[in-house]
């Protein structure tokens, strides 16, 4: 076995800069507080990151296709409220598919506007952010939604249950990540998503039906949001109307942190997962270190920007851009 050459090491760093950043920062937090790497804590962080993570998987598709989805936060509130409300009205067995159908309907509507009508995705999803919030409030009448029988319902399995010794939210996250990861990396559809985001004109001339690809990306995103809403609802068995508020930016931060380009055409599911974990562990690590919380807002974003910088620097092999 030969030692890796400098080029090989450099190449690895260039491809996996974000992973190096992740490892560095895990080591840093572990030194600050040994409980950080306690298996229970790690499991706990992954479990509570699962909601954000599942949403980020879908948004990865949308971002790679060259669009944005800012509506996922309020759409997640919608799914959560709807499934909680229907749980007591028509029972969990019917409530879950009904909620998925409604959420997919919203996704299809956004996909239609962005894909087929070619409207700017920033404007459409920003608008849908408020519109869906309004829809949620109308549905609930502004009230908190709670399941009446919190002990007796099997519905709590999605957020609180274990299977094979692993919390169900983590299983759902891993399962969806694997499925969507394969769909993106190994199928013709996945290649079309990259093509549409990388160069839309070239994609059209290659015979790719752009509108359809974008439409499906939004459907995938809505499906992920519905799954996240299901986990959220099942985890707390009750919810405020604003449960997903602000998540759209955290989701986007995770996706971009994973190295997807906001301009489309690049990014992978695996790196999005790393981005999600970085965000989750930063929040948890800062709490464990016991930093004063006003400072936490600042430190969180300093770490994120450092990680992105490290990623970019590794890609170009220099800390500074040679072109001013």
């Amino acid at each position: 076995m030969t030692a890796p050459t400098k080029e090989q090491v450099g190449g690895f760093l260039a491809r996996q800069g974000i992973i190096v950043a992740f490892v560095l920062f895990m080591i840093g937090f572990s030194m600050a507080n040994a409980r950080f790497i306690d298996p229970d804590n790690i499991m706990g962080v992954i479990r509570s990151s699962a909601i954000l993570g599942v949403m980020a998987l879908g948004v990865t598709f949308v971002v790679i296709s060259g669009n944005l989805d800012l509506s996922v936060g309020s759409m997640m509130s919608f799914s959560t409220i709807v499934v909680l409300d229907l749980h007591d009205k028509i029972g969990p067995t019917l409530a879950i598919p009904a909620m998925f159908a409604l959420t997919l309907g919203l996704g299809a509507f956004i996909g239609f506007l962005v894909g087929y009508l070619k409207l700017n995705s920033l404007i459409v999803t920003l608008g849908m952010l408020s519109a869906i919030h309004g829809l949620t409030l109308t549905w609930s009448g502004g009230k908190n939604m709670d399941i009446a029988d919190k002990e007796g319902t099997w519905f709590k399995v999605f957020g609180q249950g274990d299977a094979l010794g692993i919390p169900v939210p983590i299983l759902l996250f891993v399962l969806l990540a694997a499925l969507l990861g394969i769909a993106l990396a190994k199928t013709p559809f996945g290649r079309k998503v990259y093509a549409v985001g990388g160069n839309a004109t070239a994609a059209t001339f290659s015979g790719i039906r752009r509108a359809r690809v974008v439409f499906i990306c939004y459907l995938i995103s809505a499906f992920c949001v519905a799954t996240a809403g299901l986990i959220q609802a099942s985890r707390s068995l009750g919810s405020q109307n604003t449960v997903g508020q602000g998540l759209e930016l955290e989701v986007l931060a995770a996706v971009i942190l994973g190295g997807a380009s906001l301009l489309g055409g690049s990014g992978t599911i695996f790196k999005t997962v790393i981005g999600v974990l970085i965000l989750g562990f930063i929040q948890n690590g800062l709490l464990l270190v016991g930093l004063q919380f006003y400072v936490q807002f600042v430190v969180t974003w300093v770490i994120i920007i450092l990680a992105v910088w490290l990623d970019i620097a590794a890609k170009r092999g220099k800390l500074w851009s040679p072109i001013a």
């Binding site: 908190n144 919190k150 985890r235 948890n284």
Partner: protein, 318 residues
């Protein structure tokens, strides 16, 4: 029509200047609320306000909502001044930013009543009265509830408490935290607050914070949360981690908190009814208009509620 309106308005102003001359005419009271629909408290408040206004034959209410937006609230204040209402009730979206608008109303001779959470001190000169809960007192009462329970359990010498606050920068959050932290060492000097973190009034966020606390501290005897929503989030985290025997105390008793108390999982809270809050605000405005002597800080009572006395209270509707 217009002239009559203006005449009526100035007639009321005159009556006001005369202080005490109760008028039998109807009074128009405008209200601009913070963000109806964002939570159950505010939704119930609005409903109760409208009901109370309808029940009072001498009151005509103009009910507005700022949707949490400061700029919209200022515009609504200006609209109400233009309409020459007799009094304005404001639930501030932001304690600082609304002061110029409150001042403008004051200058136009329209008395302003602040409801639920007060504006910053710089604006006090322009306010006729503040009607709402005494949040510092609520924090203090929560400290007493927790301390009494620790004494019952005989752990008042060594108990450790974690504190989950509301949104940083929000007056209610700051006042409750202050009330709690000042009062606890007075009643239970040996109890330590080992950590404080914000839960942003959000159940999910609070659950995450509590999960981290449970990892960080092996010994937690009590949790004080700035409201029951966050308290229940913390309770969920403790249940998931299998940690038992922790005393949970919140504030603003929500239905979820009340139910958790019924199940014996949650010890106590502060009973604050949005219906009382809304009625008190309307009554304060009416009293001001009728020239009655109204204290500047017109608090309505928010009693302690624990598993022991919860039978005296009906389950909150929100």
């Amino acid at each position: 029509m217009n002239i009559r309106r203006i005449f009526c308005a100035s007639a009321t102003s005159v009556a006001l200047a005369g202080a005490g001359a109760a008028s039998a005419e109807t009074m128009t009271i405008g209200i601009t609320q913070n963000n109806v629909g964002v939570d159950s408290y505010q939704t119930t408040y609005e409903k109760a306000f409208i009901e109370a206004a309808n029940a009072n034959a001498t009151v005509d209410a103009v009910v507005l909502d700022a949707g949490g937006d400061v700029a919209r609230q200022i515009a609504q204040m200006e609209d109400l001044i233009q309409q020459e209402v007799d009094a304005i009730i404001i639930w501030p979206t932001n304690g600082e930013a609304v002061i110029p608008a409150v001042r403008k109303a004051h200058k136009a001779g329209i008395p302003v009543v602040v409801t639920n959470s007060n504006i910053a001190q710089a604006g006090f000169d322009f306010v006729a009265s503040f009607s709402g809960p005494d949040n510092i007192n609520q924090g203090a009462r929560s400290a007493e509830i927790m301390c009494d329970k620790f004494k019952d359990m005989g752990i008042e010498k060594e108990a450790q408490v974690v504190h989950i606050t509301g949104q940083p920068g929000y007056t209610t959050a700051i006042e409750r935290a202050k009330g709690f932290e000042d009062r606890l060492p007075e009643v239970c000097p040996d109890v330590t607050v080992v950590d404080t973190q914000p839960g942003d009034w959000n159940r999910e966020k609070s659950q995450k914070v509590m999960e981290a606390f449970l990892v960080k501290y092996d010994d937690i005897d009590g949790v004080y949360a700035g409201d029951d929503n966050m308290g229940v989030g913390a309770l969920n985290a403790a249940k998931a981690a299998g940690r038992e025997g922790i005393i949970f105390v919140g504030a603003t008793n929500f239905a979820v908190g009340y139910e958790a108390m019924e199940r014996g999982e949650y010890w106590g809270s502060i009973y604050q009814s949005p219906v009382d809050d809304a009625k008190a605000a309307l009554q304060t405005a009416v009293d001001v208009l009728q020239g009655k002597d109204v204290p500047f800080l017109n608090y309505f009572d928010t009693p302690k509620i624990t598993q022991d006395n919860m039978g005296d209270f009906s389950k909150p509707v929100f």
